[in-house]
């Protein structure tokens, strides 16, 4: 199947477009490797404490809202699909469909953040923010439960920050595409934002079962 393919322009420092594309993609992966290690450290900390305090972590995780977590996973997986479609249409030079799916992806990302905000607010009302106001029953598990929620807020907070950055980058991209800026004539910027977005999705793929679905 031969499909139409978007025009690309060759920068002078590259021999050909294949080398240019590979350089951009490998460069983005280099950044993602640092992100993998960065999140990996937090995951390692979580794993160590969860194995050591499994039973209390189980009790503490019952305070999380599984339906909302499930819904957010669904939203993020769908946003990954729409981002993949954005890249697909960018590669084919169909800027109208590209823009449409980019907006859908942004909408889903914002939905994720709003739901996360409601979850955080609920935790605040329930007194589950680590600190002097932290409340947990039974009281003998208070310290470890607070540890669980510290890890919960650190991990989901870092992830939410990445989602927020993703939304901002997508907004910039959407404006550049809408005004037909020369820097986004090539589909590579969209491809790289896509790589970042799928990485954010992968982090959540691990966060959801690890935090929301602790087995008894």
């Amino acid at each position: 199947m031969v499909q139409e393919q978007a025009q690309q322009t060759l920068s002078i420092q590259f021999d050909d477009l294949d080398q240019q594309n590979e350089s951009y993609i490998v460069g983005m992966w280099t950044f993602l490797v640092t992100e993998i290690m960065f999140f990996g450290a937090v995951f390692a900390a979580y794993l160590v404490y969860r194995v050591a305090n499994h039973d209390v972590f189980y009790l503490a995780h019952l305070k999380l809202d599984i339906p909302l977590g499930f819904f957010n996973t669904l939203v993020l997986l769908t946003s990954s699909l729409t981002m993949a479609l954005t890249v697909h249409f960018a590669q084919r030079g169909r800027s109208r469909q590209e823009l449409l799916f980019l907006f859908i992806t942004m909408g889903l990302a914002l939905t994720f953040l709003v739901v996360k905000g409601f979850e955080y607010h609920h935790k605040y009302v329930e007194g589950l923010i680590p600190g002097p106001a932290f409340r947990f029953e039974p009281v003998e598990h208070l310290r470890v439960a607070q540890l669980f929620f510290s890890l919960y807020f650190a991990m989901t907070g870092l992830h939410a920050l990445h989602v927020l950055i993703g939304v901002l980058v997508m907004a910039v991209l959407a404006v550049l595409i809408a005004i037909r800026h020369p820097s986004v004539q090539d589909f590579i910027p969209v491809e790289l934002v896509g790589l970042y977005w799928h990485f954010v999705d992968i982090v959540w793929i691990f966060l959801f079962p690890l935090l929301y679905l602790i087995p008894r």
Binding site: M1, Q3, Q5, Q7, Q8, T9, L10, D15, D16, L17, D18, Q20, N21, E22, I25, V26, W29, T30, L32, V33, I36, M37, G40, A41, A44, L47, V48, Y49, V51, A52, H54, I66, F70, T73, L74, L77, T78, S80, L81, M83, A84, L85, H88, Q91, R92, E191, G194, L195, H198, F199, D201, I202, I205, F206, F208, P209, L210, L213, P215, R216
Partner: protein, 114 residues
């Protein structure tokens, strides 16, 4: 390199058909439902549940990396780079967990379990 000039307009990019993306998406949704379902398995098998949940998460991540992130169609250098991240991650996990999970072998003061 040829300097014919027109090679600058045709890179060897693989445009993944929409059908493939949709199939991967459906697979991801099925795996998501399986994860939640596995968490409610009747009985009391913590270890089995943990292994199932992590296996499903890894399968989902591999699907996203291979298809959504185009690594399956990527160059060999992309393969090396993408694998390197997860390879180093595994080293970090083995060293960290290897330390913490073996501390009780030799009880020492000030070197307790976390």
């Amino acid at each position: 390199m040829t300097d014919s000039g027109n090679d600058s307009h045709s890179a060897h990019i693989h445009i993944v058909p929409i059908r493939v993306y949709l199939m991967v998406y459906v697979a991801l949704l099925v795996l998501l439902v399986l994860t939640v379902g596995a968490a409610y398995l009747p009985g009391h098998h913590t270890m089995l549940n943990n292994i199932i949940a992590l296996t499903i998460a890894i399968v989902k991540a591999v699907l996203v990396v291979l298809y959504f992130m185009h690594v399956r169609y990527g160059t060999r250098l992309t393969w090396v780079w993408a694998s390197a991240g997860f390879f180093w991650l595994i080293i970090m996990f083995i060293l960290t967990l290897g330390d913490y999970f073996t501390r009780h072998w030799i009880p020492m003061f000030g070197w307790e379990q976390p």
